[in-house]
């Protein structure tokens, strides 16, 4: 199956009710907007609002803030990261 792995951390994980999931994509992959649309279908608009909320950063295949809204391909991992609070 061709899919993108999507991961959520901390409060986003709790909002979405899942830590990670596989979202199927076609051979051309999917834009971030297309992926978010798919996620809205799965989790509702409110969840997607949280995913694009203030301070939320993206990592693609472990690379943070990989510039412009990413285009995801099968096998990619997209992570939604709330503001960090370590140390």
């Amino acid at each position: 199956m061709s899919s993108v792995r999507v991961r959520y951390f901390a409060e986003l994980r709790e909002t979405l009710g899942v830590g990670e999931e596989e979202i199927p994509v076609g051979p051309e992959g999917a834009s971030l907007a297309e992926l978010l649309e798919h996620l809205a279908g799965l989790h509702g608009d409110e969840a997607v609002t949280a995913l694009v909320g203030p301070g939320i950063r993206l990592a693609v295949n472990g690379e943070l803030d990989a510039g412009t809204p990413p285009h995801l391909h099968a096998g990619d991992e997209l992570a939604f990261l709330p503001p960090v609070t370590g140390g």
């Binding site: 951390f9 901390a10 409060e11 943070l64 992570a79 709330p82 609070t85 370590g86």
Partner: protein, 166 residues
């Protein structure tokens, strides 16, 4: 910023288990001979938050990616000070008040660099390393918000001509 030539390798561990600061000091002392100064910082779980008693702390991370984010902080420090080594051990999972959370050790030939580097690494772990904290209290649990004063603390290391930090 003067880039200090260094072969020092960041030592980063993210683990559930507790750590032994003494053993880590001994390890870096052996790894970085010639360092006349070792500065260590241990962060522990406070039992009081801004608005109530904390019964436990829960720390989440992004395995693999979090370690790299800590390494990036250390490499930044290695570029600013002449260091023989830096160790960071950060715990994750559920921790009780009083437990150790984080250890930072900076080794250098001279104490000033070691003090400053340990301070710098700690400030930037707060703002740049991928960890998320949840406070458990008697009246419920909540994810800790990032603090403005943590960002102020990290920003004080930026002087004109320094590289921006995103």
């Amino acid at each position: 910023m003067t880039a200090a030539a260094t072969d020092a390798v960041p030592e980063v561990r993210v683990q559930q288990a507790d750590f032994d600061a003494g053993a880590e000091l001994e390890a870096i002392r052996r790894r970085a001979p010639g360092c006349g100064a070792l500065v260590s910082f241990v962060g522990c779980v406070r039992d009081l938050a801004e608005d109530g008693e904390v019964t436990a702390l829960e720390l989440e991370h992004y395995p693999g990616v979090t370690e790299r984010s800590v390494e990036a902080v250390i490499r930044d420090a290695l570029g600013r000070w002449a260091l023989g080594g830096v160790t960071v051990v950060h715990r994750v999972g559920r921790l009780d008040p009083g437990e150790q959370i984080v250890l930072v050790i900076a080794a250098s030939a001279h104490r000033r660099a070691a003090f400053e580097a340990a301070d710098f690494v700690m400030d930037h772990l707060k703002t740049h390393a991928l960890f998320w904290k949840k406070e458990h209290r008697r009246d419920g649990a909540r994810w800790v918000r990032s603090r403005d004063d943590d960002h102020v603390a990290a920003a004080r290391w930026q002087s004109p001509g320094d590289r921006g930090e995103g």
